[in-house]
């Protein structure tokens, strides 16, 4: 694909995203409409006073016709107003923005390490295709992938937190830590167990399997046979031709998991009380903080849409055959 055609394609892709966001918005809207009970009360929270409920009713236009309500809702959103979290006594967007960086710190660190480790093992496994080692790697990765993250998290807490007291298992920083260096070390220390959990159950198995499968697949292609026939050594065939062509599925997998960065960590964060989007969602569920829940849902959808776009661009760049026409 020529670089010159990229913008048109991006525009087309962006246009596809509009229905996604719209679907999420309308879903949110309808959900509150058909939820049991008074929507104003639902939005304001169970412990809101009469005046607060009235305020919400007016602000969202809940006494107006349905179409007006939907337009008012969209208008508020366009102005960056995602509503008010009654549990945190803060605008929903502000609450989310406080939590998002902590989630990204945990997820991105774990994902990068998981991608590197998983791909290395996967490629090595593929280069030993059909051997005992390859079989073991394959079965073990599926076994780890079958472990529920929250269960492994609980076990790690019980063994390494409670009994061996090696690592902290709640929060992301100890109380009263001062000085930039100590803070960084302390945060990293808190990240050990949640990261290991994410890598062991999700990232390493996923990237091991995809990189292994895609190298094995590429090795069956005709051009590999051609390269061999041309007298290229097995090592050169593998390094120069197989790896380069096997990378596209891996990149696409990176995109899929990036898009699930915010949903994939809910359980891990909850187990380790990591103060990110996941625990925020958990709190919002427990407190029935619907404006916050809807805000998280919307922001997550925006995140998904943006990562999909990034993946498409990256794929088009890596694989000249992809044209998206």
């Amino acid at each position: 694909m020529s670089v010159g055609r990229l913008p048109r394609y991006v525009v087309r892709r962006v246009l596809q995203f509009v229905p996604v966001i719209l679907a999420v918005l309308i879903f949110n809207f309808v959900l509150i409409k058909i939820a049991p009970g008074d929507p104003a009360l639902t939005m304001a929270g169970e412990w809101a006073t009469k005046e607060q409920v009235e305020l919400v009713r007016q602000k969202w236009g809940l006494d107006q016709p349905l179409m007006t309500q939907l337009l008012r809702y969209l208008g508020n959103l366009l102005g960056g107003d995602l509503g008010f979290s009654y549990h945190y006594h803060m605008p929903v967007l502000d609450v989310i923005m406080l939590r998002l960086p902590k989630t990204l710190l945990l997820v991105l660190t774990s994902m990068i390490m998981g991608i590197v480790l998983g791909t290395l093992i996967g490629v090595y496994s593929a280069s030993r295709y059909g051997t005992r080692l390859d079989l073991v790697a394959s079965v073990l990765s599926l076994a780890f992938y079958s472990i529920p993250v929250f269960w492994l998290g609980l076990l790690l807490i019980i063994v390494f937190g409670l009994n061996l007291k090696l690592f902290p298992y709640t929060g992301y920083i100890s109380f009263g830590v001062k000085g930039a260096f100590s803070v960084v070390v302390d945060v990293l220390w808190h990240m050990v167990m949640p990261s290991v959990t994410l890598m062991a159950c999700l990232y390493i198995p996923v990237f091991l399997r995809i990189s292994r499968a895609s190298v094995v697949e590429v090795m069956k292609e005709d051009y590999i046979t051609t390269a061999r026939a041309a007298g290229l050594g097995e090592r050169a065939v593998f390094m120069r031709h197989a790896l380069r062509n096997a990378i596209v599925p891996v990149v696409q997998m990176v995109g899929i998991w990036m898009s699930q960065a915010l949903t994939g960590v809910v359980l891990t964060e909850t187990v380790f009380s990591w103060p990110g989007m996941g625990t925020l969602m958990y709190t919002a569920i427990i407190m029935r903080d619907y404006p916050l829940l809807m805000g998280i849902f919307l922001i997550t959808a925006v995140w998904v849409v943006l990562t999909f776009l990034a993946v498409d661009v990256a794929t088009a760049y890596l694989d000249p055959r992809v044209t998206y026409e």
Partner: protein, 298 residues
């Protein structure tokens, strides 16, 4: 007369179709070749046996309150008891029923919706295909886990309702697989032959195309059962489970509150992992047996 024509037509079409007994037998041979898939199958059959024999294995039921509270594993309670004095092993035995039924319900619903929605664009192609494919793409981008959490949180925690919600949000993969299969199979000679003999659209689709192209969907259904068990456990773990039905996830939920009693966490989690692993292995085995590309050695 009509029945006769129908029979002749079937014979003719089946003589050139790739299906038939021979394929079923060779499927089992190749599937059994993969020891890991066989292991998965054995575990699944064991789980079904445990679910059926629950009244024999744990006659007191999962909610019987024993005197021993939070007792570690002993000869009387091999997996220990919880803070109310409920036997963890009985809970796991009875929970097998719930996890299996939930998984089958989700995968079944997802299969039904997915195959129907995937067959239409695959069969008709053109604009219909464009429209459906765009719809699948949009649906795929909606954060599914949050959607499920949101609906369950707002509308209450009933396990059947949850299964329906999960099933209704997990059909996209099945639909895309079915679409791709129908798209290629409808060009094959035996399908053209069937069309030429004047068979109706429905007959061509349901008698000839779908039975020959369903294997990726079957493999995916096994993976979906694995996913469903994890999702049920995850929802329960977040406190969104159905407290009237003691599932494996519900057992883990209470383990979280009594973290010093390790047996509460260990055994239900092992049960989940084992069954999920089994379904994943079976799914792998089915794709392996049906897809010759996966079998050829480099």
């Amino acid at each position: 007369m009509a029945a006769q024509v129908d029979q002749v037509q079937s014979q003719f079409v089946e003589s050139i179709a790739p299906g038939g007994m021979g394929r079923t037998r060779s499927f089992w041979r190749v599937f059994a070749e993969k020891k890991t898939a066989l292991f998965g199958l054995v575990v699944m059959l064991l789980a079904i046996a445990v679910a059926l024999a629950a009244p024999l294995l744990a006659p007191q039921g999962p909610t019987h309150l024993y005197d021993a509270l939070l007792s570690p594993p002993s000869s009387q309670h091999p997996f220990g008891t919880d803070p109310l004095g409920r036997d963890v092993m009985s809970g796991i035995v009875w929970g097998t029923r719930i996890s299996l039924l939930f998984a089958v319900g989700v995968a079944g619903l997802s299969l039904l919706i997915g195959v129907l929605l995937g067959a239409i664009p695959g069969y008709y192609g053109g604009r219909v295909d464009d429209l459906f494919s765009r719809f699948f793409e949009v649906f795929l981008m909606i954060p599914r886990f949050f959607l499920i959490i949101l609906v369950v949180a707002v509308f209450g925690q009933n396990i059947i309702f949850t299964a329906i919600v999960v099933g209704m949000t997990s059909w996209v993969t099945n639909a895309r697989l079915t679409r791709a299969q129908v798209l290629t199979i409808k060009e094959r000679t035996f399908v053209k032959a069937s069309m030429a003999t004047g068979a109706s659209h429905a007959r061509v689709l349901f008698r000839h195309i779908l039975p020959n192209g369903l294997y990726p969907v079957i493999a995916n259904s096994s993976l979906e059962m694995a996913g469903a068990i994890i999702i049920e456990a995850a929802l329960s773990f977040l406190g969104l489970g159905d407290s009237n039905h003691l599932s494996w996830g519900q057992l883990l939920f209470s383990a979280q509150l009594h973290i010093h009693s390790w047996w509460l966490a260990l055994f239900p989690g092992l049960a989940i992992t084992l069954l999920v692993f089994a379904f994943n292995l079976i799914g792998d085995g089915i794709s392996y047996a049906f897809n010759p590309r996966l079998r050829g050695r480099g």
